[in-house]
């Protein structure tokens, strides 16, 4: 039951003199601050934080939480984000003493069990990708992309080659060109066809000896397996370039096809997607990368190694490594969850995950295509992109209207307006951890919405705490913190 009294801002709930924390008395001889520190470094007052009691803090945040949709409470078919069930055993594993409470500079001798888990994880990810070397260091998918592109840059520099061009399809995630720019490359966009496949003519027109990396998402963002994958990989390799596989859509191909086998030289994983780590309201994720032997010397540090006597250690002596992209080892808590997920499935189970992710997506496609066209065709992998363009033309109802109205019916909206290559794009990824009943209900509601009065849809949602924030005002006159 919603309570809006306690969701007032923390700063409105504050009252001088309240506090929720009592620190112990100082048990060493306390000295005046002025005798310990120069006056020039001391603040006059502590920061103006709100003053609250513990029950006020609990009630405030618990009531805020009830204003969110989440995977544990709702169907959340957000395309490209793989909003699958977040197993509770993963949470318990990550919190175990010996995993969750280990300091990043703990002596290696004290943490052999954790290092073994991380070593195994490197091996598992390499096996699943077909790429033999792995770094668990990056903190998110986009961070993994950046890491891999920096690895590529270091590789070419080491070979005395100056290559500046990164190719990426127009359907790529925005992070691809953004990562390429951060790594110092120029991105050239390759067109895709209406089916979602790379336009080979355009690809060949833009491929030259200046190619460093072709960044490809496969299965791609419209949910098809790239039909020209082999041709693209062969022709890029023939020019001395590398293939980067954006692993956002690995949920479709676990045990079915391996990036290293279909031409990739590097890939990242999104363990928070594919391997069920929760998404945390926006993060954390992790972004481990796997690469070929030729690229292994350039991986970020550290890597976990196993000695012949079975001891695990961190390898910091990699003279060609690109270095750190963050402090410390990596997002270990996310990796422990992903490890738990992989161990809960085994080889057959992981393949079943992909089979059912693809089955669920195709089933939903088969229902939805009758009232919302799916330009890519009759079949998909783990997700598909419907187009609301006809509906927009005939009734003036936009993809955003459909998305907002779905919220009234208790479904999270699909991703809309991405990829940019499909007009009024509605990108739906049901994942394997949903029932046929849920998919049936979702398809039926979506159909019903397309039949509703357009006026009702333009003003949707109607049942949520708020409806359609004024985003123009938010950006034009930004209010980005509480001013009391």
């Amino acid at each position: 039951m919603r309570n809006t009294r306690d969701t007032k801002s923390l700063f409105e709930l504050s009252k001088p003199g309240r506090r929720a924390t009592l620190l112990p008395k100082c048990d060493v001889p306390a000295r005046p601050l002025g005798s310990l520190l120069p006056a020039s470094v001391l603040a006059d007052l502590p920061p103006q934080l709100p003053e609250l009691s513990e029950p006020a803090v609990v009630r405030h945040f618990v009531n805020l939480s009830t204003q969110n949709m989440s995977v544990d409470t709702h169907f959340y078919p957000l395309g490209s984000c793989t909003m699958k069930h977040n197993p509770k055993r993963n949470e318990r594993a990550a919190a175990m003493p010996g995993f969750g409470d280990v300091h990043p500079y703990a002596p290696e001798a004290a943490i052999q069990g954790l290092l073994e888990l991380l070593y195994d994880m490197q091996q598992y990810l390499s096996e699943i990708s077909g790429l033999p070397a792995c770094s668990l260091h990056p903190a998110a998918g986009a961070h993994g992309e950046l890491a891999a592109l920096l690895v590529a840059a270091a590789y070419f520099r080491d070979r005395g080659e100056k290559r500046t061009k990164v190719l990426a399809p127009d359907s790529a995630h925005g992070t691809n060109p953004a990562s390429a720019a951060m790594a110092g490359f120029d991105t050239v966009t390759v067109k895709t066809l209406k089916t979602g496949a790379v336009d080979l003519d355009d690809f060949r027109a833009k491929l030259d000896d200046n190619i460093a990396v072709f960044m490809i998402t496969n299965p791609n963002t419209v949910g098809i397996f790239e039909p020209s994958m082999k041709i693209i990989a062969d022709e890029v390799h023939a020019r001395g370039g590398l293939i980067y596989l954006d692993g956002a859509n690995m949920n479709a191909i676990l045990g079915v096809a391996r990036p290293g086998d279909f031409g990739a030289d590097m890939q990242h994983y999104n363990p928070h997607k594919t391997f069920s780590g929760p998404h945390g309201g926006g993060g954390p994720g992790a972004g481990p990368i796997c690469v070929t032997e030729a690229l292994a010397p350039y991986l970020p540090m550290p890597i976990v190694r196993k000695s012949s006597s079975g001891q695990f250690s961190l390898d910091f002596s990699m003279p060609k490594s690109i270095g750190h992209l963050r402090a410390f080892f990596g997002n270990t808590g996310v990796l422990v969850r992903a490890y738990t997920y992989i161990r809960a499935h085994g080889p057959d189970g992981l393949r079943r995950v992909s089979e059912h992710a693809v089955l669920n997506a195709n089933y939903l496609l088969s229902k939805i295509k009758h009232f919302l066209p799916v330009p890519q065709g009759e079949r998909c992998m783990h997700e598909f992109v419907a187009s609301g363009a006809d509906l927009k033309a005939t009734k003036g109802v936009s993809a955003m209207d459909l998305a907002k109205r779905l919220l009234d019916y208790g479904f999270h909206a699909p991703t809309v307006y991405f990829p940019l290559t499909v007009k009024e794009a509605i990108m739906i990824e049901p994942t394997e951890s949903e029932s046929k009943e849920t998919l049936d209900a979702f398809a039926e509601v979506l159909f019903r919405i397309t039949e509703e009065d357009p006026e009702l849809l333009h003003e949707a949602p109607h049942s949520t705490p708020i409806s359609r924030p004024n985003e123009v005002q938010a950006a034009r006159e930004p209010v980005l913190s509480w001013k009391s």
Binding site: L115, M182, A183, F225, S276, G282, L359, S366
Partner: protein, 496 residues
């Protein structure tokens, strides 16, 4: 969960064929022998109905768009599936061969600290609606996340003394690199970055990695005395220098003359990127107070577990004039179509999903759940709690520093005043031996510095948080000054 207790009956039919098959299912995977399908709903009947609706004969047929020659032809070489109970046993056995701060007294710091984590934080962050949701693309069903992020941003402006915060980055190290990129993009001076050697070595490595291909010169100003020599630093600031990077308190725990460094940078037209310790703001000046233009920090110490390096919390805040260069998600307060106050993601034209290669950063996922933890932490502490925590860290660490310095074996490596950690030199130069000895005695005694600073190979970085008791501090002194035992010592009883 469904199916028979061991999963046999259900698993065998998962490569289901729509009509009763005369030949075996078309798959190269043998029928699984153990439970492996804990998170699926589809029964054989469901699968049959779904395949009929799709117009496919088998699940295999759905994969026909994967070219035959690119398919993986054998089972993955991974351990067989384990059910929840068995797997928990496997994991606990591994965890038992790893020791954390729950069983050892922790004096390790260097950017990650064993501060106390109030129970309320786990309760709030354990709410499904927070931890199983995602980026608030649909603000109508994400007001909880959005308001919490707005409150986080508000708290960050208050602990940095700066105008604007984003809603989080990955960690302190990547935030340092993003802060430097921000300074480079926000200025026409893009040739050089001046970094103090007293900045966390892994932050410096991250900055170097991010800038590797951007044609920017990184100059590291040595700090042999433990703090920056302001004149020496000022001499390195050229007209092409975009920013100066400092850390306060610095990696050695020492306090820099931050006012003078900022003054020198600004006099020469460069911006200042300052790494700071959020806890220290309970008693120390904030980055905005001493003149930093961009503040970055590791926010792990605001209520997040150590977790062997992550996930943590990257904090970044800046002056108003730099807001359009800010990386990552930012939440703004506005009104909805009915005029009701509400929150939404804003200034998105900076971001990768709109601007692609022209974005301020490639950041997409961030650390929202850990920003939430920090928000709850600071709400619980309030100004007095933060002050008390900071003062306990200061008093206890200085007590320990003095006690160690009073022994024959140790001396403080630097003269500069310190906040909650400090560097001691072992006159016998046997740092590794001490660490091993400490471990036997149930203590994580400190971080060795030799790998980063060869001149400090005989030194340890020791951190003291508010959690450490006088008994633990005294026990550390005793442990470090005891004659190393020839036989294996009996571990001290756990003090907590």
């Amino acid at each position: 969960m469904w199916g028979t207790p061991d999963g046999h009956a259900t698993n065998q039919v998962l490569t289901f064929v729509a009509s009763p098959a005369k030949s075996p299912p078309k798959t190269h995977i043998p029928p699984p022998k153990s439970a492996s399908m804990p998170y699926l709903y589809n029964t054989p009947e469901d699968v049959a109905e779904m395949l009929t609706a799709i117009g496919a004969k088998s699940i295999d047929e759905l994969f026909e768009m994967v070219p035959e020659d690119l398919r993986f032809k054998r089972p993955l070489n991974l351990p067989a599936a384990q059910g929840e109970m068995e797997l928990e046993g496997t994991l606990r056995a591994m965890a038992a061969r790893s020791t954390g701060v729950g069983t050892k007294v922790c004096f390790l710091g260097g950017g990650a600290y064993d501060h106390f984590i109030p129970a309320v934080i786990d309760t709030v962050a354990g709410r499904s609606e927070f931890y199983t949701s995602y980026t608030p693309y649909q603000p109508e069903v994400s007001q909880g996340n959005l308001q919490a992020m707005f409150e986080f941003q508000s708290l960050m402006t208050r602990i940095t003394g700066l105008d604007v915060s984003n809603s989080s980055l990955y960690d302190g190290g990547s935030a340092a690199a993003e802060g430097v990129l921000m300074a480079l993009h926000g200025s026409s001076r893009d040739g050089r970055v001046v970094v103090a050697e007293s900045v966390h070595p892994e932050y410096r490595s991250a900055i170097a990695t991010y800038l590797a291909n951007l044609g920017v010169e990184i100059v590291t100003v040595p700090t042999p005395g433990g703090v920056v020599d302001v004149k020496q630093l000022a001499a390195e600031i050229t007209p092409q220098t975009a920013c100066v990077v400092l850390q306060q308190p610095n990696f050695f725990g020492c306090l820099e003359d931050a006012d003078a460094i900022c003054q020198a940078a600004h006099d020469a037209g460069a911006l200042v990127v300052a790494a700071f310790d959020p806890i220290s703001t309970g008693i120390l000046k904030r980055p905005g107070d001493y003149g930093a233009d961009i503040a970055i920090a590791e926010g792990q110490n605001l209520g997040s577990p150590l977790a062997y390096g992550g996930p943590y919390l990257g904090i970044i805040a800046c002056r108003e004039s730099l807001v359009r260069r800010m990386p990552g998600r930012i939440v703004g307060r506005t009104t909805d179509r009915r005029g009701k106050p509400c929150y939404t993601l804003t200034l998105q034209t900076r971001e990768q999903h709109i601007r692609r290669e022209k974005a301020t950063s490639n950041v997409c996922s961030n650390q929202a759940l850990f920003a939430l933890r920090a928000t709850v932490y600071l709400s619980l502490l309030g100004p007095q709690g933060l002050r008390d925590t900071a003062e306990l860290c200061l008093q206890k660490s200085r007590y320990l520093a003095d006690e160690l310095a009073a022994t024959d074996r140790f001396e403080l490596a630097f003269d500069a005043p310190t906040f909650k950690e400090f560097v001691v030199r072992d006159r016998e130069g046997k740092v590794d031996e001490l660490i091993a000895h400490g471990l036997t005695a149930g203590m994580l005694i400190g971080v060795p510095l030799g790998n980063w600073y060869p001149d400090l190979a005989d030194c340890l970085l020791i951190a003291v948080t508010e959690k450490r008791t006088r008994a633990e501090l005294d026990a550390l002194v005793k442990c470090l000054t005891a004659k190393p035992a020839r036989t294996r010592e009996k571990p001290l009883a756990a003090t907590r």
